[in-house]
Symmetry: C2
Subunit: 333 residues, 2 copies
């Protein structure tokens, strides 16, 4: 296992590496899953992609999220697949969870067909566990991109993966002793920039030496429990879900059973989970929370950090209950 520290956009560099390493041009990614803004990842499965050449789009195979059969079909019928990219928690740190057993099947499938497995751990790295989602789930990819927590929020990213793949970035000597260029050049103004690198070292020491991840997970679990209790008291068809230092608010549709079990069993489609709360409903709930002095980011839901306190949890849960009461009084629930 090796690391390289990049300015940012480790995902872009990773896509080049999997193509260079395998000699194959096509990378699989999921529709409606955010993998960054650069050309290879930021066009939709169908429809217009202003400014992104067709030749770039042809290099990515955009499949339905979590559809293992579609990946299986692609790997068995095509010989041009370099890698499969996936956020191992499911999109946006589990906002839309992957089906049970998906990662293990994907690991087996990619290995069997000579494709690389590339995890986007930009959110999950140093959040799900000190070893990221790959440690939490026990599935080791060939390559993983990291950012955000890796330097405590300072601007830097990293690419981690099997040494043989990252070796494409090395200068090396020929038999005659001459130094030759890497297969993949990666110069860049901000690669391993000093301030960001120092922030990274400091952050990773905190992750290693303190209970920062457990603390953030504990806070989120307490938030989810408290908010779900408020929902139960109110008797509405909502639920709060999440697995790590995160909480997601889901408002069930009429006839739908909005429970944590229903969500993790796959009974509610990803598109519903990601778009299930209307902009109006979010606005009403947010106004209710703000009137109680509480704001959250990452609607519908948010992330917790190791600095959030038990008092903050209590205040947030109380504000959430009060906001539901207000919405009930106004007839919007």
């Amino acid at each position: 296992m090796r690391f390289t520290v990049t300015g940012t956009e480790a995902t872009h560099l990773g896509i080049r590496l999997v193509r260079a390493f395998t000699g194959k041009p096509v990378v699989i990614r999921f529709a409606d899953n955010f993998r960054g803004w650069h050309d290879h990842v930021s066009f939709p499965a169908t429809g217009a992609a202003p400014g992104i050449p067709q030749g770039v789009q042809d290099g990515m195979l955009v499949l339905p999220p979590g559809d293992i059969e579609a990946i299986h079909a692609a790997l068995t019928t095509r010989s041009d697949i370099a890698a499969v990219m996936v956020e191992p928690t499911g999109a946006s740190l589990g906002h839309a969870p992957l089906p049970a057993g998906f990662l293990a099947r994907l690991r087996t499938l990619t290995t069997a067909h000579g494709a690389l497995l590339f995890f986007d751990e930009v959110i999950s790295g140093f959040r799900c566990s000190p070893g990221g989602a790959q440690q939490f789930y026990g599935i080791t990819p060939d390559l993983a991109s990291l950012a955000k927590i890796v330097a405590g929020g300072f601007s830097v990213a990293a690419l981690a993966g099997k040494a043989g793949i990252l070796a494409a970035l090395d200068y090396r000597k020929t038999g005659a002793g001459a130094i030759v260029s890497p297969r993949v050049m990666h110069q860049g103004t901000y690669n391993a920039s000093p301030v960001s690198a120092a922030a990274g070292i400091a952050t990773l020491k905190i992750i290693r030496d303190t209970g920062a991840i457990a603390r953030a997970n504990h806070t989120a679990a307490a938030l989810r429990a408290g908010m779900n209790a408020a929902i139960a008291r109110k008797g509405i068809n909502w639920c709060i879900y999440g697995e790590f230092s995160d909480f997601r608010i889901y408002a069930g549709a009429p006839g739908e059973t909005a429970t944590v079990d229903a969500i993790y069993s796959g009974a509610i489609p990803a598109a519903r989970l990601k778009g299930g709360m209307s902009a109006e409903l979010i606005q009403q709930l947010r106004c209710g929370l703000l009137s109680e002095g509480v704001d959250i980011a990452g609607w519908p839901g948010g992330l917790t950090s190791c600095t959030h306190s038990d008092a903050g949890v209590e205040r947030t849960v109380a504000a959430f209950a009060a906001a539901l009461d207000m919405m009930g009084e106004e007839g919007v629930l």
Copy 2:
């Protein structure tokens, strides 16, 4: 004129914007000119490009540096050119200067043929002048990428350009008042990241309110003059050149006249200027400087900042003269 602050890789975003704005797929750039490491700009004019799909390469037309006739021919015979990208000082802040009058002709040509002019001001921005190379030369591009000095070395970048082009990044309202997505989405973890943005504000105030740029230019001019005097005393066919806060060391080939005038008149080819000092010669000169306690970065040559002192100039010039003496004694000059 508008700005947008990006995590990094403003050049990549700029390439997408010129394609989205013009609806044309091809961008012209120069061979052997570093424009960043992402896929669109980091493959050579000919030869292997591991990991970069053919469809990406097809979107860039790589022409000989500074060849205005080649650009003219492309613009008159093709209808798919979105923009021409150029570092307005010539490659690597004038390491290989552009021909006299090149920028003015390029501005006229691109306007006449409906192509955008895109300056890479990553090095020159806030170095050549407070308004960058575009202010210094009096040639205004349609778009410019900025980094490095823009945040005093902290990791961030910016894209500046005509408001109509940057408007592709805006959310906007339809006639019915609904908010619709930008033509070009540009989400990103580190866009306008707080620490980098604060560093940027502080740096730009210093640039505006102090003589930082003039001071760095003065230092480099004093270095160039002192080093050229040492070269003249030694009677060797070298010269030191540069226009801004930079100095370049050039060792003339036998039969070549290595003077500042020869370099700026275009008498010495770009390939010679960029590769004219062998790795061995650089190693010998560097060892001589190091033995005098002086090191420089950016071989063959370097950049100065506003913090370099007159005493540093004197010491560097003396070390350079001593290194030339050592090299003469060892018979390598």
